[in-house]
Amino acid sequence: MFDTSALHKGIELLPYFLNVLGMGALTTLGLTAAAFVVAVLLGFCLALMRLSRSRALRLIASVYLEILRNVPILTQLFILYFGLTYVGITLPAIGAAIIGFGLNGAAILSEVFRASIRTIDRGQSEAAFSIGMTRALALRLVVLPQAFKVAIPGMANFAIGLLKDTSLASAAAVPELTFKARMLVSETYQTNLIYFLLAVIYLALSLTLSYWAARTERRLKVVKEN
């Protein structure tokens, strides 16, 4: 059933595969990190807009959220990619990918942030107001520092989802992990071995990310106890 000669050939090529996939993994991590930063910054702004007292700001944020959460991210990437070329902006594919994943991620994270702010007891804001803080000051000094800790699991989950979603950038020829894998398959036809390696690498990356996030959360709890 299995072609053993092909398997042998595959094992010979293992170092080559790992090298190429390793480069792809670096691109994947870079893409994930960059998109994560964009998503956090933009998502934070969105969350503040949703909590603002201005109906206009709340509406804009809600519409943005609804649209981005009900359209597949692949479609969003294509729209962004072609939309940018229409407007005359020529970005390298990876740039468009960072923006696309960042914009989409902002929608997801804004909900995480908004929910974590709402877990903070109203009494905290009231205490802050009672010592003469404006809403902005109360948010910055009292609510957000507490909300941030609550938001960490949500942010970690998002990061892991983002890592996996970057595989879609392969459709735009971004040289990340999945793209490299497809390239290798068309080059050597070692489908099984390569896709096996691909799965293992993604698994390793996402498990490492989970572990690191859990450790960070635990460390923050310990710091507080001192």
Binding site: I131, M133, L137
Partner: protein, 258 residues
Amino acid sequence: MAESTPLVRIEGLYKCFGNLEVLKGIDLNVQQGQKISLIGPSGSGKTTLLRCVNYLEEPTRGDIYIDDELIGQRLVGTRKVPMGDKQLARMRAGIGMVFQRFNLFPHLSVLENIILGPLKVQYRERAEAVALAEDLLDKVGMSAKRDAFPEQLSGGQQQRIAIARALAMRPKLMLFDEATSALDPELVGEVLGVMRKLAEEGMTMIIVTHEMSFAESVSDQVIFMADGNIVEQGPPRQIFRDSQVERTRSFIRAVQEH
């Protein structure tokens, strides 16, 4: 005693939560240096009244003046518009509030809780703020805990810190919203002791409380509220011992049966 302008002037205060009328027309003056206790059954509106004074609750109708300044609203010509956030914050800085659930900031140490206001709202120098805080900690008997975190403290300790935090802003008025109701009985005394000291130093205080003997010994005026109205108002002796109003008497009787 000369009748100067009252520190707090409440005129025609109505408050509805949806269909529920919680305050049905309150008129009240508080002179500088007075200690006023608000007593009454649950749902009488006393906490809502207190929270309207520093505008944590927005009145449905009526005006509240702190030191002759209208709080929460501004007069534009003859119309009243909501007050801006900065102005409201400024007015609130002059009013201290102590909450039933303490509401200390858990992510900050005891000292940091107290200096936060002076530092970030009044822009005082850090050294000055810390000196003030240590002074207050000593006053409430919590100097030893200056670097502790709220979750490490008992309820009574937390509440004393909360009082210190409010005093750090040097308010002209202190509001106490059932400050001892959430405390274990053996911890109530240490908090009441601090409140008593404060009263003796001449602070203007409005106290919502269930501690009747405390209210009787500390107050200049006791206000008995029920169903959103002031039923009776007068010196402690009148309310607690010599009331001629049946509603008041039955409440006092019921409370003292414990």
